[in-house]
């Protein structure tokens, strides 16, 4: 069961990050040409693969309790970050991630940049490289964290690779940003899973013992999910109340506006 959840969490996390990377790569490729852009993508993927290859075996040498503490901490930090953002977006306190708008901004920026450089077009190369590397880095940490702890880095890598291939094929077929992927829902689900796994492994790494041992993971997932849904429900009501108040009182109009999409 842990393994299935592991692959699902890695797959969903990787879909979200791949969609964001694809938006950048498409905008650069369409405006600047595909040659330097694809070199940048390849360079980014090579660096990410090298990180997994180098850090993966090193992590398996660490004693299991220390590893679980570090991995639990990392997953909790990432998971709570994703969950926090997804809850704020679902409740209206933060603007939804709009791939179309981001794509248009990237297009405009790429059109105005000057060509030239050692990679044929340094701007295209650098932007594609950075896009793939930065969006992929979090996935690499999730793959390594899950994989090292469950002794299945190859399986976690397969989950991540499947997501990259799926998003790349869909992007090539549509030749447009994947704006219809329910990014926030995926982010919410990944946030719940990372938080639950982080809680479970963190306690075990700190020498705490769960009642029911491995079975405890299911109630933890349920509790985190219930809490997150309750938070969305509560914050949405607060946001709606503020919006209604600002309609009747124009001086409060700015109070109910959503935040940035980042």
């Amino acid at each position: 069961m842990h393994t299935t959840l592991l692959v699902l969490a890695v797959f969903a996390a990787c879909v979200v990050e791949s969609v964001e990377a694809l938006t950048i790569v498409l905008a650069v490729g369409v405006t600047r040409g595909w040659h330097a852009t694809m070199r940048g993508v390849a360079a980014g993927l090579i660096v990410l693969a090298a990180l997994v290859a180098a850090l993966g075996p090193a992590l398996t040498v660490i004693p299991i309790n220390a590893l679980r503490l570090v991995v639990g901490g990392l997953l909790l930090v990432f998971g709570l970050g994703w969950l926090r953002k997804a809850i704020l977006r679902a409740s209206g306190f933060k603007g939804l991630h709009d791939e179309d708008a981001i794509y248009q901004r990237q297009l405009a920026a790429a059109e105005h940049a000057r060509p030239g450089g050692i990679f044929g077009d340094s701007y295209a190369f650098t932007l594609a490289f950075k896009g793939v590397l930065l969006e992929g880095l979090e996935v690499v940490f999730i793959v390594l964290s899950f994989g090292a702890n469950q002794h299945s880095i190859p399986l976690a890598t397969v989950g991540a690779a499947a997501a990259v291939i799926l998003v790349a094929v869909a992007g090539l077929a549509l030749r447009a940003p994947l704006a219809r992927v329910p990014e926030n829902t995926l982010k919410f689900a990944v946030g719940v899973l990372l938080t639950a796994f982080g809680t479970f492994w963190g306690v075990e790494g700190a020498d705490g013992h769960w009642p029911g041992s491995d079975v405890a993971l299911l109630p933890i997932i349920g509790a985190v999910l219930a809490f997150a849904l309750a938070a969305v429900w509560h914050l949405r009501r607060v946001h709606n109340r503020q919006t209604a108040r600002s309609r009747t009182d124009p001086t409060r109009a700015t109070e109910a506006t959503s935040g940035s999409t980042r």
Binding site: T195, A206, D207, A231
Partner: protein, 73 residues
């Protein structure tokens, strides 16, 4: 500031942002909860409840402060 210092500062800022993220109090609460669990685990009391409780309280507080900040912007 020298170029090396600027680069080092940028490198540190990147990793801080990458690992700690939008709210440093979440990372701090996790470290404290792990330490408390490890301390209680050496006694005869159960220690498993500390981290889940800390996670839920921290998330609630972080969401409340983010909602307040969005409202005041």
């Amino acid at each position: 500031m020298t170029r090396v210092a600027v680069a080092l500062r940028g490198f540190a800022a990147f990793w801080w942002d990458f690992i700690v993220g939008d709210d440093w109090r979440i990372a701090a609460a996790i470290v404290i909860a792990f330490a408390a669990t490890a301390a209680v685990a050496t006694t005869s009391f159960p220690a498993w409840w500390i981290v889940p409780l800390a996670v839920l309280i921290t998330l609630a507080l972080s969401l409340r402060s983010a909602a307040r900040a969005a409202r005041n912007n």
